[in-house]
């Protein structure tokens, strides 16, 4: 039985006078709760990092395939000095493996959006020949320099989102997106806890120097430690990860 002394609310009738103060307090609390949670959550979002697009760049260089395509710049711009090594991708979640492989070892002209985060430089190629085409000139792939076997701590990301096409472009909420990118042949990168030979990130390949193996997808965006061979290609570090050594960190 309801308490006869308590006010009884009927939806289609005016609220009982005894209940009005309670209802006004409820309404104010409701609006305050929504405003306060919106402010608290909205103003405490993590920093998405400094990666960003730097506008269209057109350079000439030599293509090298290291699982994924890179070019060693032979004729740069103000933004991209000669001698730089750029990782290549296409638009969306598409890599440039198929486009670049036939031009391996050749001099090409590369044009597209430069994405930059720290020492990580990636170019999102324009469509068709405008993005990548054979060019005149001389150049050779620099001799790779092996740096030995290393154990690194850090996170596997897709090189394009991490470089700034998405902000944030890392972390577990972004894991599925990163998997889609790498499955689309966008080069993955390993973000190291501390710089390795001066670089915070390394382009990631499988142990044989090919594309990233399945274990890499399963470890994507987790903080892990992993061993592998590091090789310097131009000014780019490449980490041939040994997937059997992946350990998830606490």
């Amino acid at each position: 039985m309801s308490d006869p002394k308590k006010p009884f609310f009927v939806g289609y009738l005016p609220a009982p006078p005894d209940l009005r103060l309670f209802l006004i307090v409820s309404i104010v609390s409701f609006v305050v709760i929504f405003g306060a949670t919106g402010l608290l959550i909205g103003s405490t979002q993590d920093d998405p990092g400094p990666g960003a697009g730097q506008g269209r760049q057109t350079v000439t260089g030599v293509v090298e395939m290291i699982g994924y395509p890179v070019i060693h710049v032979t004729q740069g711009t103000d933004r991209i000095p000669t001698g730089r090594t750029l990782i290549l991708s296409s638009g969306g979640k598409n890599g440039a493996v198929g486009r670049a492989a036939p031009l391996e070892g050749q001099v090409v002209q590369v044009s597209g959006l430069l994405l930059e985060r720290g020492e990580l430089d990636m170019v999102q190629l324009r469509g068709g020949n405008n993005g990548l085409q054979a060019a005149d000139g001389n150049g050779a792939v620099p001799r790779p320099k092996p740096l030995g076997r290393w154990k690194l701590a850090g996170e596997i990301c897709d090189g394009k989102c991490y470089a700034g096409i998405m902000r944030p472009g890392r972390g577990l909420a972004h894991r599925a997106c990163a998997n889609l990118c790498v499955a689309g042949e966008i080069p993955p990168v390993f973000v190291s806890s501390q710089p390795v030979e001066g670089s915070d990130f390394l382009m990631l390949t499988g142990p044989d120097g090919g594309v990233m193996p399945q274990e890499g997808y399963d470890a994507m965006a987790e903080y892990i430690s992993v061993e592998g061979e590091i090789t310097r290609h131009g000014d780019l570090l490449v980490f041939a990860m040994d997937p059997t050594t992946i350990e998830v960190l606490p």
Binding site: V31, P48, H174
Partner: protein, 351 residues
């Protein structure tokens, strides 16, 4: 309280309810989407689709948390019943906010790939083996489907068509759905974000929901409703126990609840379950000679269990008699709308 169905039976309180609800949601989203980016001291801004997706996702979580607190609060304290009154609009609004969240995420994280974006939601991460890196999106998909079912079946037609008990069982899906939302958040953003503000809000909100529901459910099992025993006529209470204009509820041997009302010195017994949503009629009161449900104000003539014309709702009635001052009820319900002669309260009780 339908005569003919209309999309929404508006009244002043519903307008106020919706206005307050929309004001809260709009304030949340405006602060999160428009104001918060200016307060963040980031070198470069979060992408708008990600920021907006987070805003709508967090808003849907807060909305669902508040909605799920209303029910048990109203059971524990009747003053919260007005918050229950138009809760269905709150629920429908939540679905739209949740769909907006899902759209931002799907059109951003799962888009731009050779794989169809909906296929990608189900296939981009299939690492189900552990909590870290679990495809938490799947919990969100489940919760969103449930929310869509619940909001789509919120019109009164569905309560009548499915019957209130089937409708209620269907709407019990909100419990696994809310647990799934918490899992979606806990294995998604809580593992991802370094800042712990949202973590605390999720912790406090979801534990409040769990605690309130457990409290309300346990108070129901320890409820004051008497259990009437026996196979034939069963004793409900003493005639003294029933206040004029109110009822005494008892659980009959078969499990049904009866509400014995006293109106103008006469006692009548009706089903405790309202025909609309099975609201507890015995917790209502008599207004203008009609029993009024505390949930949505549906009304019945206590002598025959019928809503006043032009309304057509009917509830079962029970045969009633007095044995001394004991109120006795035949536990076999009469078909809905069967008139039963009320019995006068004994003189000594009235005195």
């Amino acid at each position: 309280m339908s005569v003919k169905y209309v999309p929404v039976q508006w009244n002043r309180n519903k307008w106020i309810y919706d206005a307050v609800m929309l004001a809260g949601v709009a304030l949340f989203l405006w602060i999160f989407v428009e104001l918060a980016p200016g307060l963040l001291s980031h070198e470069r801004p979060i992408n708008a689709p990600i920021h907006n997706g987070r805003a709508f996702g967090a808003c849907a979580f807060v909305m669902l948390t508040v909605i799920l607190c209303i029910g048990p609060l109203a059971r524990l304290d009747q003053r919260f019943l007005p918050l229950l009154y138009n809760r269905r609009h709150f629920g429908v609004m939540t679905v739209f906010v949740a769909i907006t969240h899902a759209s931002f995420i799907i059109d951003w994280y799962f888009n731009f790939s050779p794989t169809n974006k909906y296929v990608a939601v189900l296939s981009a991460n299939t690492d189900f083996g552990q909590a870290l890196g679990f495809p938490f999106e799947i919990f969100g998909v489940f919760a969103l489907i449930v929310l869509m079912i619940l909001s789509a079946t919120s019109h009164d037609f569905w309560m009548k068509f499915l019957t209130p008990p089937v409708w209620k069982r269907l709407h019990y899906l909100i419990y696994p759905a809310y647990a799934a939302v918490v899992a979606h958040v806990a294995l998604g953003v809580l593992l991802d974000a370094q800042n712990v503000t949202f973590l605390w809000i999720v912790l406090i909100g979801s534990l409040a929901v769990a605690t309130l529901h457990l409290l309300a459910a346990f108070s129901e099992t320890r409820g004051s409703d008497t259990r009437a025993e026996g196979t034939d006529w069963v004793r409900i209470c003493d005639a003294h126990d029933i206040t004029e204009g109110f009822a005494k509820i008892a659980r009959l041997p078969g499990g049904d609840r009866v509400a014995v009302f006293r109106q103008d010195g006469l006692l009548s017994a009706i089903s405790n379950a309202c025909a609309h949503q099975n609201g507890p009629l015995g917790e209502g009161k008599v207004i203008d000679c009609l029993v009024t449900c505390p949930w949505h104000g549906f009304q019945y003539d206590v002598r025959n269990g019928r809503s006043p014309a032009p309304f057509t709702e009917k509830i079962p009635t029970y045969d009633i008699r007095l044995h001394g001052s004991s109120v006795m009820v035949n536990p076999v319900a009469n078909p809905p709308g069967t008139p039963v002669d009320p019995v006068p309260v004994p003189q000594e009780v009235l005195a």
